[in-house]
């Protein structure tokens, strides 16, 4: 297999797309905005990172042949499922999307609505992967098999977005430090 190498400091030449942060157009009914900042171990913002998200549609399905339930229904045709946003000079990113539905798992459990999140940056020799969950899904989160695999409540809380006064959801990502985000071995 081909090993990973860092995305380096110059990926912004190619990887950001004008419509990258828009999993759906902003005018889509029900669109939500996820905002956040990327931090290093000294608590400083990271202005040269890249955030990518991948998620189910609002009915918990994926437009992909390996979803055994078949392709995403036509109602979500403008929904890409994928978002990509470089961090700004203030370390911030934003993704405009629809809230995903719960997703069935092979073990009979139900996964709470979530996004898979990849972080790339200079100084990261491989991407790191985390998940974002929703603050208004307390019951579903409590039953989620992935959240349940994390022993500490304080650690689990790093994966749950925080509601902002204006209706946005804040999901800050800390690569290191006291409140280091949970990252997964995928």
């Amino acid at each position: 297999m081909t090993p990973s190498q860092t995305v380096g400091p110059y990926f912004a030449m190619r990887l950001p797309w004008p419509d990258g942060p828009f999993v759906v157009p902003e005018s889509t009914p029900g669109a939500i905005t996820i905002i956040g900042r990327l931090y290093d171990g000294a608590g400083n913002i990271i202005p040269d990172g890249l955030i990518e998200t991948w998620q189910a549609s609002p009915d918990g399905r994926f437009a992909h042949p390996d979803d055994p339930r078949g392709a995403t229904p036509a109602g979500y045709r403008s929904f890409r499922g994928f978002g990509r946003c470089p961090t700004a000079p203030d370390g911030s990113y934003r993704i405009i999307t629809l809230k995903p539905g719960p997703v069935p798992a092979w073990d009979g459990s139900i996964e709470a609505p979530h996004l898979d999140v990849s972080v790339f940056a200079r100084g990261l020799l491989d991407r790191v992967v985390t998940r974002m969950y929703f603050p208004d899904e307390m019951a579903a989160n409590a039953a989620d098999p992935v959240l349940c695999s994390i022993g500490s409540q304080q650690r689990r809380d790093t994966l749950i977005a925080v509601p902002e006064p204006e209706g946005q959801l804040r999901f800050d990502i800390r690569l290191q430090g006291d409140r280091e985000t949970v990252f997964f071995d995928v």
Partner: protein
């Protein structure tokens, strides 16, 4: 647009749910904490990664189509009015998985320096000239056999300040999606015989010697076009999958 949330999965005839699972390449990728590469110090998680068994979100992924690609995206030498400076090269190969199966219809994005070792980027201050005819960015989609092909310019080396007299070996950055979230890969392709390779912490962060060698393209006289361009061959191998049946 309201739809019932479908919470049961179709199962195979014998009542088992069949989902692919992707190989976990232990020891393949560089460690996130690597002394020789200074910027890793404050950017690597210190807590152990939590094992994430592959579920639907991980075995699916964005299938980005031809609509992203324009005619000149795979030919970095024709994106402007004039010819760029430097050695014209062809870089081609296949994207396959570790089981040898081609990965078709997958987006590849590349970026690189020009012939002088200069990136077209606002935060790049290396005192080497920009080339008005070269942006150093490309895109391609693999064909049904997983093949891709770029025409570009041999990139240069450049200093990067990691340590005294630190120079990056010439390389092309590659970003690939594969067919699933687990297959996503960002890496760099290097050139054979580059004297800077043994000195480069980023290249040498890959722990396994054989895996490291897989980052180096092969010069190929058969791919080389007479009177026109040198040919390099580079295959990219993504994680393979097995269909795993769960009771």
């Amino acid at each position: 647009m309201t739809a019932d949330v479908s919470t049961s999965l179709t199962t195979s005839e014998d009542g088992k749910l069949v989902l692919p699972s992707y190989e976990r390449p232990a020891g393949l990728h560089p460690p996130l904490d690597f002394d020789g590469y200074r910027s890793t110090a404050l950017r690597h998680p210190k807590r152990p990664l939590v094992l994430l068994p592959h579920r639907l979100t991980e075995v699916t992924g964005p299938l980005l189509g031809d609509d992203l690609i324009t005619a000149t995206d795979a030919d970095l030498t024709t994106q402007h009015g004039g010819e760029p400076q430097g050695q014209r090269i062809i870089v081609t190969g296949r994207v396959v998985d570790s089981g040898g199966r081609p990965v078709p219809d997958t987006l590849i994005e590349i970026w690189q320096t020009n012939a002088a070792g200069r990136y077209r980027h606002s935060r790049e201050h290396h005192p080497a000239p920009l080339d008005p005819n070269f942006d150093g960015i490309g895109r391609a989609i693999t064909d049904s056999a997983g093949r891709y092909r770029f025409i570009t310019i041999q990139p240069g080396s450049y200093p990067w300040g990691n340590h005294y007299n630190a120079w990056r070996p010439a390389h092309i950055h590659f970003s690939l999606f594969g067919r699933a979230f687990t297959q996503r890969l960002v890496t760099q392709m290097y050139f054979p015989g580059d004297p800077l390779l043994p000195l480069d912490p980023i290249f040498n962060s890959v722990p396994d010697e054989k895996a490291r060698q897989r980052l180096i393209a092969d010069f190929d006289i058969e791919l080389t076009q007479p009177e026109w361009a040198l040919g390099y061959h580079w295959d990219i191998v993504l994680r393979g999958r097995d269909a795993t049946a769960f009771e």
